[in-house]
Subunit: 270 residues, 3 copies
């Protein structure tokens, strides 16, 4: 058979008998699935991946048993990725190649993590978050929903390096962080904020603020930004971009209104 | 046999019968070569590589057949690299470890791509281009010949992130981009220009300009730069450096003149 | 058996008969150990690693025999890492995933190298050095003992790119270099110095200096930095942090005094 065939587990893949593999799962050649992994239906895992990689305790304690790694249905995990035991990942997860996700993290559904990106553990990440290639999410980061982070950006966490204090970064819903940005420990990025490329963010960023520079300073509101050719608004981006989003093909405002109606007491589901 | 032996294909390598493998090719242990790959004579591929990695359509369409990945003769592709179906790469290609090259890209001959570098697809790259380690070439980039890009540099492409507009960067012949530079979408770097380390390039760079800073500004012409010890010119670099270049061992000016003669109507080949 | 079992060598691992493997060594599935590797007792090597990767000469010279790669006892080398022939690494080495260490480098004992970090060869690194994820150490770098380097930092080496001049960076004992810093070729970072995040360091840094910015300038002495909440000193860090250090659990000053006594003529060992 081929090295990767949809719906099949390659004979060279090493699947521990203590792993739970869902229906119609594809696993590429030479991939390792450790005991304690729970992999959702219809998921695809490329070659040379490790699911359920053990944390440090495994090497120190003879009887150590790794915690569960839970991956929702319809995941697409590309080759050479390493996902540790002890994290949980929602449905429709998608990764590039050589991604690392460490222990004790919780990722929502429809999260995308680009090639070589690294989620360092003890992180919380919401739904529909997109991390591009080579993004580094330090331990204890808190990322909301619909957040975008572009290549070579780092969320740090140690305010007095080296120390044992870990002060994670918080990024609120709909925020966008461009390429090669460093966010210092404990910083809070407000909802819908936009951080420009190559910035060093040392202090909190207001909702809807555009910040730039090293150190980053507020230069505008996202509502001031216009398309150079058309003169139209660009942000909030959710009103102009919908690919892969739950409001794809319908207007964001209509979708949001509908969602609000559904969550009200006495609504159709009440 | 050993895990890597010149001129041999390791028995653990998975070579699809629909792949075309040239004469005297070396393939290391556990490497995967998919159908549709055309690998040139005398090429060497390290362990754990994937040649012909399928694009997203493969996972969505049951009958999808990947396009050709063509790799010229004398390639040296180091371990853990992933080259997608649908690109074409000239002769004497050389990669570091864990390199990614996505679909629909065209690379000339004698291209070198360093460890962990990532060419994101829909790119055009000329001949004798050297990308150092961990360089990120965004989709739709256009890179000329004899270009050098140093570690942790990113060519971006989305002017209004997140959007569906992709505006690639253009880099002309002989340009040099130093370490940890971000080039913003649509920027044009002129021939022989030099971009200093840690710069953010927001606007076009003139031929032979030296630019620096964040945002980058022109600080000199490359012809102003002198070696501190000798006082001699350093740039254009092609007049002082020839390792691996077609003018190696002969003077650049002589080589260029000869090439010009050869391409003239009525020349010796006419 | 499982893909990784303490004290066992997985049957899919390819161990050359010319390799020397110590007692009680663990080697994960699919890993390659070439001839000439000397791997210390009690070491653990994850899956998909290559130990003893050959340098360029291997591909050029039919009779080329790789030099020794020596790795001390109690190493922990995580998956997908590539360590070249011709380097020597002290005891208690620890690596993240996908680490590269090139030829002709010497690393002391208790060195830690984070995921995706790359040591380019011809480097000297002391004892108890910690490189975080995605750190790039250019050829000919000299790093002392007890040095910390944080993610996405690059030590460069070519003063006139591209050229054949390699001018390595020197980093003295106890120095700390924060995230996303570029150090230009030939720069000397003094002992106990602290380089702030996102800096570009173009000139030498004094011992105990705090430098920041692009280009980096001295803004303080490390002795001026106080904890915001307690008002206490933070640096020198060795007086406030001991995890994994030889003075763990004892006071740094006591440890240093004791060490000094031991090394004096006429001491207890004399």
């Amino acid at each position: 058979m081929r090295a990767m065939e949809i719906g099949k587990i390659h004979p060279t893949a090493l699947i521990d008998e203590g792993a739970q593999v869902g229906r119609n799962v594809t696993i590429g050649a030479y991939t390792i699935v450790h005991a304690g992994v729970d992999l959702g239906d219809h998921s695809v895992v490329g070659p040379y991946c490790i699911l359920g990689e053990p944390a440090m305790e495994f090497y120190r304690e003879q009887l150590y048993k790794s915690p569960i790694l839970s991956i929702g249905a319809n995941a697409l995990i590309r080759s050479h990725s390493v996902l540790y035991a002890g994290s949980s990942i929602g449905a429709y997860f998608q990764s590039g190649h050589r991604v690392t996700i460490r222990e004790n993290s919780r990722l929502g559904h429809h999260v995308r993590v680009g090639t070589v990106s690294d989620i360092q553990g003890d992180c919380t990440i919401g739904d529909h978050v997109s991390l591009h290639s080579n993004v580094h999410i330090g331990q204890k980061s808190r990322i909301g929903n619909y957040v975008w982070i572009f290549p070579y950006t780092v969320l740090t966490n140690d305010p007095q390096p080296p120390s044992d204090t870990l002060l994670g970064v918080t990024v609120d819903d709909f925020a966008v962080i461009a390429t090669m940005v460093v966010i210092l420990p404990g910083v809070h990025i407000g909802h819908d904020a936009l951080v420009g490329a190559s910035s060093l963010v040392r202090s909190d960023v207001n909702p809807e603020a555009v910040v730039l520079g090293s150190p980053a300073r507020q230069v505008a509101s996202i509502r001031d930004l216009k398309d150079k050719q058309t003169g139209f608004d660009i942000y909030p981006w959710r009103e102009h971009f919908d690919r892969g989003m739950p409001w794809e093909g319908i207007d964001y405002a209509d979708w949001a209104t509908q969602r609000l109606d559904e969550s009200m007491p006495g609504d159709v589901h009440g």
